[in-house]
């Protein structure tokens, strides 16, 4: 009975069996179902539906494949499945913002997407197959996609040399160097120069204790209640190099005491005859004549002054040297005279040239700075400090090292702390878990960390020693880009081979030229074989371009070739001998084979060619749209009034054939002149000669408008 009933299926058992089979089926169905609704498969099917709405469906679906697509480049650690969803990246017909993402074409860039993958530039997780895991930072996958406005950081990871296409990255690198970040941090590709901040060994001979106190408390920059940056009370966009340190009253007193006693080397005694000084001092126009000299020598090419026009105050002038609006209230007059005579005697590495001052000029300009560039209110907020006491000096000495002052400013016998700030040479590759966010409420990823730290170092770490900088939004992004580009040494040898090293221009002049070159610091503004500044024309081939006599005359009395320039070559008061040394070296050495005078015979120019050239210049090619001859014409290119005395015929010919070959990035486009046209234009330009010094007055006449232009 029992055995029988065992084989018999009771309805209850039947039901149990049915339920469990259905449950089993359902469980088995979960996996195929989950597979079917996977996120990437929806994008795959979406792409097919999308392609069917386009006229070129067949082409769009030619290499369609319903499974996961991936770009695999083993040597570069690239396993990118991004093209699984981003299926249109190489389809030219899917360009433009009208095409919905993720199907849009990748904009054309110098690198082929198929050869480089996606995460090399965009970061994010290549192997991930879900939108969130690929693009955002999750617990297991920590590298989020880089926002597009920081994308130039990825260019900089391999391209250590700046590219024309990455201006933001170049600006960021420039800021890192300019703001002396390498004083405290190790940075990839930013070397430590000979001098970061000024050497303070003798600072006590230059400024008073009260001024030091004021400077440390508010290093020029004050942000008013509207958020505007103020330099000594003047609004500016230039960020001063000295940042604001958060110093307590006692620390300010101690540091100012310590610095004001730094007088290791007394000022060299230089006395102008007292009787002569007395005679000059009677001149009521003294300061205004000094101002005129200050302007004539183009001090404003490197130094700026605040100018108020129509109730608006702006700084006008260059930023190579410090802003001088209130310099008279800052430095001691005897120091100023010693400095102007021999800047290197005070600061060995300063870029200030040694001008050939006459005593009278020196006296007048010093008087101008000491009496006119002043502000009686500058030190009103500074308490009475008195003579520095010994304990204050001792404390100041300790603080000078502990606060990191010594990392940028040298004082003889005070070595800086080693590795004062964290090493940032690999900061761009850090994961969020490696960063300290403190109590801040910012998103947990690298970009927001870097930006928060730069804007307010204490927001992520209350005990941060890093000083406070004031950034414009564009500069903040630029510095962020430069930092994100530093990912340390490449992880594979294939990536190592891709790195484009920074080319360091080398220029080592010797002999008499080197002496004069160093005295006038030509490389501060001009480039020689890739070495030097960007402010003024590249002189690597100046010997091929200009005639010797013109160079010598120009150095003695720099005239204006480009009427709109605000920043001009300073008047160095150069001696005939120095000018001749420079002109000889330039014409002999700074040559390019592309402008070959031996292939050109100036005597073959006929008057007919000159007439044709003039016609081509004025009618066919209308060169006057950019160049000025006589009183009329444009001012994009240089003034050609004196071209015949200035330029060499070989240079003019080579330039007309291909400007970019002689000067990469020249504004003048390369044109399709015939050889006969080039010859005629050269013949015409070589006949343009202006006499003695008519340009001098022209340059003075145009300077107010030029200055006005800069102020706009």
């Amino acid at each position: 009975m029992q055995a029988e009933s065992m084989g018999k299926l009771t309805p209850r058992l039947r039901l149990l069996f049915a339920v469990s089979s259905i449950a089993l089926l359902a469980v088995l169905a979960i996996s195929p179902f989950k597979d079917f609704v996977r996120e990437w498969k929806q994008y795959k099917r979406g792409y097919v539906r999308f392609a069917q709405t386009r006229p070129d469906t067949k082409k769009l679906l030619a290499d369609y494949n319903p499974s996961i697509d991936q770009i695999w480049i083993p040597g570069m650690n690239v396993v990118d499945r991004c093209t699984t969803c981003h299926q249109g990246v190489t389809q030219t017909s899917l360009a433009g913002s009208a095409v919905p993402q993720p199907y849009r074409q990748h904009p054309p860039i110098p690198h082929n997407v198929r050869d480089w993958g996606c995460t090399m530039c965009h970061r994010g997780q290549g192997p991930a197959t879900e939108v969130a895991e690929a693009h955002e930072s999750t617990l297991a996958w920590e590298q989020p996609v880089l926002p597009a406005r920081f994308i130039q950081a990825s260019c900089g990871t391999c391209h250590h040399e700046n590219l024309a296409e990455t201006p933001q990255l170049a600006r960021g690198r420039e800021l890192l160097a300019e703001l002396n970040c390498q004083g405290c941090h190790k940075l990839q590709g930013v070397p430590r120069p000979a001098m970061l901040g000024p050497d303070l060994t003798n600072v006590g001979t230059k400024v008073t204790r009260e001024w030091i106190y004021k400077w440390l408390k508010e290093p020029r920059t004050i942000v008013d209640k509207d958020g505007n940056t103020i330099v000594n009370g003047y609004e500016t966009k230039e960020e001063p190099r000295m940042p604001k340190f958060r110093l307590a009253e006692g620390e300010l007193r101690a540091l100012s005491a310590y610095l004001s006693v730094q007088k290791a080397k007394p000022l060299p005694a230089y006395k102008i005859d007292a009787r002569v000084v007395a005679a000059w001092s009677k001149n009521p126009e003294l300061a205004s004549q000094g101002e005129l000299r200050f302007r004539q020598m183009f001090c404003s090419t490197c130094h700026s002054l605040a100018v108020t026009r129509a109730g608006e105050t702006k700084l006008i002038g260059g930023d190579i040297g410090p802003e001088l609006t209130k310099a008279g209230s800052k430095v001691k007059p005897e120091w100023l005279i010693a400095w102007l005579r021999d800047p290197q005697g005070y600061l060995a590495h300063t870029r200030m040239p040694r001008y050939g001052w006459s005593d009278e000029d020196l006296f007048k300009v010093t008087q101008y700075i000491a009496t006119k560039l002043t502000d009686s209110d500058l030190l009103l907020t500074v308490p009475q400090l008195g003579e520095p006491a010994e304990p204050e000096i001792q404390l100041g000495h300790r603080l000078f090292v502990e606060k990191g002052c010594a990392s940028c400013h040298a004082i003889e016998g005070v070595p800086p702390q080693k590795d004062f700030g964290p090493d940032l040479s690999a900061v761009g590759g850090k994961n969020a878990s490696e960063l300290e966010f403190g109590k801040s409420q910012i998103p947990r990823h690298l970009v927001s960390y870097i930006q928060a730290k730069l804007q307010d170092p204490t927001s992520v770490n209350a005990a941060a020693r890093m000083p406070q900088y004031n950034w414009t939004p564009a500069d903040l992004d630029a510095v962020t880009v430069a930092l994100l580009s530093m990912k340390g040494p490449p992880p594979t040898s294939a990536l190592q081979n891709l790195v484009v090293q920074k080319k360091e221009g080398e220029f080592h002049p010797t002999g008499a030229f080197a002496e004069v070159y160093e005295r006038y610091k030509c490389y501060t503004c001009h480039k020689f074989n890739g070495h030097g500044g960007d402010l003024a024309p590249d002189l690597s081939f100046e010997g091929s371009r200009a005639q010797r006599q013109w160079i010598a005359d120009f150095l003695k009395n720099p005239q204006t070739l480009r009427p709109t320039l605000v920043l001009r070559m300073p008047q160095f008061n150069m001696s005939d001998k120095d000018a001749a040394t420079l002109a000889d070296y330039i014409t002999m050495v700074l040559q390019t084979p592309q402008a070959d005078p031996s292939k050109l015979d100036v005597k073959q120019f006929t008057p007919a060619m000159v007439v044709l050239g003039k016609q081509l210049y004025e009618v066919k090619y209308q060169c006057q749209s950019c160049h000025t001859i006589g009183g009329s014409g444009g001012y994009v290119g240089p003034n050609l009034n004196n071209a015949g005395n200035w330029l060499t015929a070989a240079w003019v010919e080579a330039w007309l054939k291909n400007p970019q070959a002689l000067l990469p990035g020249a504004i003048e486009p390369r044109r399709n002149f015939t050889d006969a046209e080039v010859q005629a234009l050269t013949a015409y330009l070589m006949t343009l000669r202006s006499g003695g010094k008519p340009q001098k007055s022209a340059s003075q006449g145009s300077s107010p408008s030029a200055v006005h232009g800069a102020g706009r």
């Binding site: 609704v37 913002s97 597009a148 950019c626 800069a710």
Partner: protein, 162 residues
């Protein structure tokens, strides 16, 4: 019968439950200014215009080559525009430039003004810039145009409209 209904309900719940587990696609709308490659301040009222990659390249080339005559203020101060007759259009002058097709713009930049029956003061850039660089300048022109540029709907419509 009741049980069967219960069972089917169970199966239904199980399947809907699974599909409910799927993460919802992120519906956050990205701010175009944060996701743009670059930003250009509008020349008249200064509002920020986000730029795509190609437009950003065009902006870079514009500020190197074209700004001197096609803008009223330049990085070097005053503009050369007022020295020229006829005065060249500002690059953001949509009233003039929106009517020109991309092909026309490409041609006048490549071949110069005289080749297109315009002022010879516009030099040819075909030997100084690549076709792609010129296309990016056109893209930048379109991006900053005031009044805004409306691309032709589809090939052919531009002829119908005229």
């Amino acid at each position: 019968m009741k049980r069967r209904a219960f069972m089917s309900l169970f199966v239904l719940l199980a399947t809907t439950g699974i599909s409910g587990c799927r993460k919802q696609a992120d519906a956050r709308k990205a701010d175009p200014l944060r996701s743009g490659y670059d930003v250009e301040a509008d020349w008249t009222d200064g509002h920020a215009i986000p730029l795509t990659y190609r437009e950003a390249q065009g902006k870079r080339i514009f500020y190197q080559q074209c700004v001197w005559c096609h803008a009223d203020s330049t990085p070097a101060g005053p503009s050369n525009r007022s020295n020229l007759t006829p005065m060249p259009p500002l690059l953001n002058d949509g009233a003039t430039l929106n009517a020109e097709s991309d092909e026309y713009m490409q041609n006048i930049m490549t071949l110069g003004g005289s080749a297109m029956g315009k002022s010879a003061m516009m030099p040819p850039y075909g030997r100084a810039l690549t076709p792609e660089e010129i296309r990016s300048v056109i893209a930048f022109t379109r991006a900053i145009a005031q009044p805004p540029y409306q691309p032709p709907g589809r090939p052919g419509s531009q002829y119908v409209n005229k």
